[in-house]
């Protein structure tokens, strides 16, 4: 058996830790089921300094120290890998997750401490690597990663080699439940409140559940990083394997029974009162399942006795309410009144809608398939079902203009929405990242790594991808949208129009090997992993 330490990196230091790392918790459960020795250090929950991390590294003779997360955790992961290598010179360092999958070659160059990276879905690759370690330890077979799918490893001279893509697993129900017990749950429970609805704001014990993987849509700022069947690995123009992201999709979801059994267990074990579904887009699953998945999930939720009493009795929610409320993600064109009403009945209190903009032309460029009318109606439809819509608003799109900002502000006024918009940010793995990579590198004076390290929160401005607006203008426009002040917008536009003749485009798109704007489907395994 292999002795593994998982490190959950610190993210968004300015915010409290609110979400157990679902991927790490799943991989820990898979490793335990396979008979390995597992420990977790949740640096994000504990928020202790480097000294504690050093003690953790020295607490045992680890065979493998595994670390991973999204790009937003890049800074901590980089620092932690240096500490791990200093304290544990012989330990194998394994990395995975979005930060690595989006750019495996660059990450291996920037972090020489990483011995091996799991690229894309890790549910099968990770236990395969652990088995290889086990055999290596037990019968002294040399480690040879040449044929292992879904990894980037180092040759003896340190050069990274990216192997072929690992097929996605077809059946998500084959996965064990995440190993919640290995995380400091009290810290997470203390941060249960979410400012999204009365029910989530009064939650005392909230946990996350991921019901599905994938989304049918192709929003140009969104990334999926292999888990949605979007990633293939092919030789680039230099004859070296590299990742390519595509419009391919493998849509997969857990059965309602799997989800409801899990939530029942969480209620019975931890007395939880709220579940956040962290699915990318629950409504895509509803549409893909021909409108059965959400309906069956809600029915099973109610049949299992998880329905909150405020919903079963039709009374206002208060502290005496029993049952489990929940929230998730929706989509302006994919939701239906019938599904929403059913969701409300089962205890759904809020749904996040990535509306992004209320401008016709901007919406046409997003790949989201929504329109101004549908965006506007979605808020009313969701509200009329009794569910709180949480609209996400973004400014700074490539084609953003004063007119498009005006259209967004008028809709915000009409709908009574107050929003401090995020900035359109090109996260690695998104179409726009590859389209604007050259402009980004230019804005960071040739230092791509500095950009990646800067990506923590989209409310912060990093590199702009807007063709016309600079960071200065976008920061001002963010404030104007927040204030919903059309007078200020008009004044700014008058001033800007005079300068417009002297402006040259700030960001210009180009094509890239890493992004194929076609439906190239990643393989799906035939046998359950």
């Amino acid at each position: 058996m292999v002795k593994i330490l998982f490190i959950n990196p610190v993210i968004r230091e300015e915010d409290n830790p609110k979400h157990i790392p679902y991927g790490i918790a799943l991989l820990a459960a898979i490793a335990i089921n396979d008979g390995h020795q597992v420990q977790v250090y949740d640096a994000n929950a504990w928020r202790k300094g480097d000294e504690v991390l050093e003690q953790v590294c020295a607490a045992d003779d680890w065979d493998i120290i595994a670390i991973g997360g999204l790009t937003t955790a890049f800074g901590y992961i980089k620092k932690a890998c240096k500490i791990v290598r200093r304290i544990n010179p012989q330990t194998f360092i394994l990395a995975g997750g979005g930060f690595l999958t989006s750019m495996p070659r660059e990450i291996m160059d920037w972090m020489p401490e990483i011995d091996l990276g799991v690229v894309g879905e890790a549910f099968v690759t990770f236990p395969v690597v652990l088995r290889m370690f086990d055999e290596h330890k037990l019968i002294k077979i040399p480690l040879d990663f040449q044929k292992t799918l879904g990894i980037i490893y180092r040759k003896s001279n340190g050069t990274p080699v990216l192997n072929g893509v690992r097929p996605n697993i077809p059946n998500l129900d084959a996965l064990p439940w995440p190993a919640w017990e290995l995380f400091p749950l009290d810290i997470y429970f203390a941060n249960s409140k979410l400012l999204f609805s009365e029910e989530s704001f009064t939650s005392k014990r909230r946990l996350d559940v991921n019901g599905s993987l994938g989304c049918n849509l192709i929003c140009r700022y969104c990334w999926h990083l292999g888990t949605t069947g979007d990633m293939v690995i092919e030789e680039n123009e230099d004859g070296i394997n590299d990742v390519r992201f595509t419009y391919g999709r493998n849509i997969r979801y857990h059965s309602p029974d799997y989800i409801v059994n899990m939530v029942q267990y969480l209620r019975d074990t931890y007395d939880i009162d709220f579940i956040s579904f962290i699915d990318e887009n629950m409504m895509t699953m509803d549409a893909y399942s021909k409108r059965t998945w959400i309906f069956d999930l809600c029915e099973a939720w109610i049949a299992a006795g998880l329905q909150p009493t405020c919903r079963s009795k039709g009374i206002p929610h208060d502290d005496s309410c029993k049952g489990v409320h929940w929230g998730g993600t929706s989509h302006a064109t994919l939701h239906r009144k019938e599904s929403l009403e059913h969701m409300f009945k089962a205890g759904c209190s809020q749904l996040v809608y990535g509306l992004e903009s209320f401008d016709r032309d901007i919406l046409k460029t997003l790949g989201k398939g929504s329109t101004r009318e549908k965006n506007i109606n979605s808020v009313a439809i969701c509200q009329s079902a009794g569910i709180n819509p949480i609209p996400n608003i973004i400014i700074g799109f490539p084609e953003e203009t004063f007119e498009s900002i005006r259209n967004t502000i008028t809709a915000l006024l009409e709908l009574g929405i107050h929003a401090k918009p995020h900035f359109a940010t090109a996260y690695p793995g998104s179409e726009w990242y590859y389209d604007y990579k050259d402009s980004i590198i230019e804005q960071y004076k040739g230092n791509l790594e500095a950009y990646i390290a800067d990506l923590g929160d989209a409310t912060k401005i990093t590199a702009t991808i807007s063709h016309r607006f600079s960071a200065m203008e976008l920061l001002g426009l963010q404030k104007i949208v927040e204030l919903r002040d059309l007078r200020l917008l008009e004044l700014t536009q008058i001033h800007w129009n005079e300068a417009d003749q002297f402006m040259k485009p700030l960001a210009t798109p180009k094509t890239s090997f890493n992004m194929v704007k076609k439906k190239i489907q990643a393989p799906l395994a035939k046998v359950v992993g």
């Binding site: 002795k3 020795q37 597992v38 953790v56 020295a58 607490a59 045992d60 290995l182 995380f183």
Partner: protein, 68 residues
């Protein structure tokens, strides 16, 4: 008081990593007031409201010679 081992797993590690007392958990009254003030002010920042970190204040411009 409950022992706080920051490591959780399915076996006993050779060494435990027990948390040392965190000064954040034991702020003196005045430290607590300063912390609360900073948090509240930062939330309300805007207009004539400013907040200056006591510890991070630095000045690297030329000093004004007048009055010396």
């Amino acid at each position: 008081m409950e022992e706080k081992n920051v490591l959780k797993g399915n076996f006993e590690t050779k060494k435990k990593v027990i948390l040392e007392e965190n000064p954040q958990d034991n702020l003196t009254n005045s430290q607590q007031i300063a912390k609360d003030l900073k948090e509240t002010v930062l939330q309300a920042l805007g207009g004539s409201m400013v907040y200056v970190e006591r510890t991070n204040l630095s000045w690297d411009g030329n000093s004004d010679k007048k009055g010396e």
